[in-house]
């Protein structure tokens, strides 16, 4: 097979496109977890975002309403989670799992009338510049606005957590809600906000799947990507830049194994299919093996309920 430079550009572009939903959902969940809340409902919020985006696009015909509607749907469903875990002090793990089950069920119910309807074409930016630069052209140009946002998000998230006052407050709440509370920070309010933000990003990730990546609705179309996003947060040790690396490796190996099959590489297909999971975990474990740094970035109170009547 002849490997030319544009072929590599095409492959990298499709790897990036497949990493988008993982990056969005992971970066959202990262903020939620950094505030000390473990929300296992990412898959459920994503699928709600997917059906909401697709349904709104079909009904209203407006892509902008659909995208923001999907984020709002993610916010609404995560409000349930926030209310249960923060106001009623329920267990994070159980509530998060329930949220996923709820999301999958309700999306299937809403989605009944939207099966078999083609989606609308989502506009891409700078399509014309694609062929102007070899290799970089297909990587940099001709993508949707959500794509560019997703690749900016890890850097924004990193800056937000490290350099801004609100970022510091979020981390403080996640590390020691008691101390934060004694400093006059409204822990519950901060956690509510972080949960809702996570919901919005998961909703956007779902909408990306149903509106841009594969414009259609079928039940369970997120196919477990929410769980992978969750795993990425943990294996990246709550570091947004490592999430980006992990998502690229995961998306990359999924696509490269298809290429290897098509070329006819004589490796058992089942092994190739398992490769993305294995390698992503290994790489993230290796790049995050500094235990001092892990201690610093792990939210100490993750998943613990905070009781305080204020």
């Amino acid at each position: 097979m002849i490997i030319d430079i544009n072929f590599i550009g095409l492959i990298i572009a499709s790897i990036m496109a497949s990493a988008v939903p993982l990056i969005l959902a992971s970066c959202g969940e990262l903020i939620t977890e950094r505030s000390g809340v473990l929300n296992l409902g990412v898959e459920g919020m994503m699928i709600i975002g997917a059906i909401s985006g697709f349904a709104l696009m079909t009904v209203t015909g407006s892509l902008i309403i659909a995208i923001f509607g999907a984020m709002l749907a993610g916010v609404l469903i995560s409000t349930i989670f926030a209310f249960l875990t923060q106001t009623l002090i329920t267990n994070h793990v159980a509530t998060g799992l329930a949220l996923t089950i709820f999301g999958i069920g309700i999306s299937a119910m809403i989605g009944k009338n939207f099966v078999g309807i083609p989606g609308k074409e989502f506009p891409v930016l700078y399509e014309g510049l694609k062929d102007t630069i070899p290799l970089l052209g297909p990587i940099l140009f001709g993508h949707s606005i959500v794509f560019y946002f997703a690749f900016a998000l890890p850097f924004i998230t990193s800056y937000f957590l490290k350099k801004t006052k609100i970022g510091l407050i979020v981390r403080a709440v996640g590390d020691s809600p008691e101390s934060a509370s004694n400093q006059g920070i409204n822990v519950r309010l901060v956690r509510y906000a972080c949960i809702l933000y996570g919901g919005a990003m998961s909703g956007l990730a779902g909408a990306y799947l149903s509106m841009i990546y594969t414009p259609q609705w079928i039940e369970n179309m997120t196919g477990g990507r929410g769980w992978i996003a969750l795993a990425l947060v943990v294996f990246s040790t709550w570091n947004p830049i490592k999430i980006l690396i992990g998502a690229m490796i995961f998306g990359g190996l999924t696509i490269i194994q298809f290429h290897m099959q098509a070329i006819g590489v004589r490796i058992p297909v089942q092994f190739l299919t398992a490769l993305p999971y294995i390698v992503t975990i290994i790489v993230l474990v290796v790049i995050s093996r500094d235990s001092r740094k892990i201690r610093l970035s792990t939210p100490s109170s993750l998943g613990k309920s905070f009781h305080k009547d204020n």
Binding site: M1, F7, L10, I11, S14, S18, P21, L97, T100, I101, I104, G105, A108, G111, K112, V115, G116, P118, L209, Y213, T214, P215, Q216, W217, I218, E219, N220, M221, G223, R225, T254, I255, F258, H259, Q261, A262, I263, G264, R266, P268, V269, Q270, T273
Partner: protein
């Protein structure tokens, strides 16, 4: 796991409700057991279209979706049989043993099992569709329309149904164009739009200009549309998802058979049968041909379709060799149904190995 929990819960609710409704009516009642959700726009969706045809013919129907191929299936079947259903369609291969087991307990209820081969009791029939006939047509079109001589094929799981499709497709494509190569990629899923799209993209990036699929979602034809290559619809007419890419679709059309069998129960003429219908009986339907296909190809396809329907042409007509060059079907012979049902070897010309 969670999916399974909610499905079981919702299924039992639906079941409870429908059983209550069903108990009131008096005519022939048909029940359908589905492996997937009716919203998959693929296998289960098409069975449900068939069920709606039965409703339209004036019969009461019930369905239970997302039933696992385990002891759960038996429980669901027993409940359906107990609650006054006269005929029960079980629409997945894995329901074979539960169907026969429950059929023994309810000799007055008729059972119809899709894609299986066990008929242990006189009240069990089996039925399946010869989808490979449709793939002979797709192969003919693909072999003619390709310019790069590379045809991509997104496959799901290595089972005889899928292998048979790949073979039938490749044999037909080679017949019109001996230079073609069929590149196969296994997605190991029946439907996951993201994965299917990625598989199709990989094949397109490697030069395939016609993509065939044996997975259910419309993601592949949409990807083909974006990339400007050709594709074929699976299970239902997918033309509206990719008007430029889709040349034709092979549709699963269960409705006529279902209506027929339910009517037979109503008339008291139902008897045990093993049905394997193809294009001729209308169980496999070829959608309208795209106008991008040259008129001589369209004529050729129409004729092939008629010949497959009449039995003049068989998808597996010898000489057929396997990958190692061993003769599978001798010159002038056709593969018998037993060979087709258990087909687990690639024919010559297919690249790669079948995943074990």
């Amino acid at each position: 796991m969670h999916k399974f929990l909610i499905r079981s819960f919702v299924s039992s609710l639906v079941l409870l409700f429908t059983l209550t409704v069903a108990a009131i009516a008096k005519d022939v009642k048909a029940a359908f057991v589905y492996i997937g959700p009716t919203g998959d726009h693929g296998w289960t969706y098409q069975h449900d279209v068939g069920r709606k045809a039965v409703e339209a013919a004036g019969f009461k129907t019930t369905y239970v979706e997302g039933v696992p191929e385990s002891a759960d299936a038996e429980r669901v079947l027993r409940q359906l049989a107990n609650s006054g259903h006269d005929i029960i369609f079980t629409t997945s291969f894995g329901y074979m043993n539960p169907t026969n087991k429950v059929a023994k307990e309810f000799p007055n209820v008729k059972f119809e099992h899709a894609t299986g081969y066990k008929r242990e009791h006189p009240n069990v029939s089996t039925y399946a569709a010869r989808f490979y006939e449709g793939r002979t047509i797709l192969g003919t079109i693909a072999g003619t329309m390709t310019k790069s001589n590379v045809i991509g094929y997104v496959a799901s799981f290595p089972i005889p149904e899928v292998i048979r499709g790949i073979n039938s497709f490749t044999l037909a494509a080679q017949k019109v164009n001996p230079n073609i190569k069929t590149k196969i990629v296994w997605a190991f899923t029946w439907y996951d739009p993201g994965k299917e799209a990625e598989a199709a993209k990989a094949l397109i990036d490697q030069g395939a200009d016609v993509i065939a699929q044996h997975t259910d979602s419309t993601a592949i034809v949409q990807m083909a549309e974006k990339a400007g290559v050709y594709a074929f619809g699976q299970a239902s007419d997918m033309d509206k998802f990719a008007p430029k890419a889709v040349l034709t679709s092979v549709e699963n059309n269960w409705g006529p058979y279902y209506v027929d069998r339910v009517k037979a129960v109503a008339n008291g003429t139902w008897n045990q049968k093993d049905t394997w219908h193809g294009i001729g009986d209308g169980m496999v339907v070829i959608s309208g041909l795209d106008s991008q296909m040259p008129s001589d190809l369209q004529a050729k396809v129409k004729k092939l379709q008629a010949d497959l329907a009449s039995g003049k042409v068989h998808s597996f007509t010898g000489p057929i060799y396997d990958q190692k060059g061993n003769l599978m079907v001798a010159e002038g012979k056709t593969a018998d149904d037993g060979m087709l049902a258990g087909m687990m070897t690639y024919v010559k010309g297919v690249e790669g190995d079948i995943p074990k």
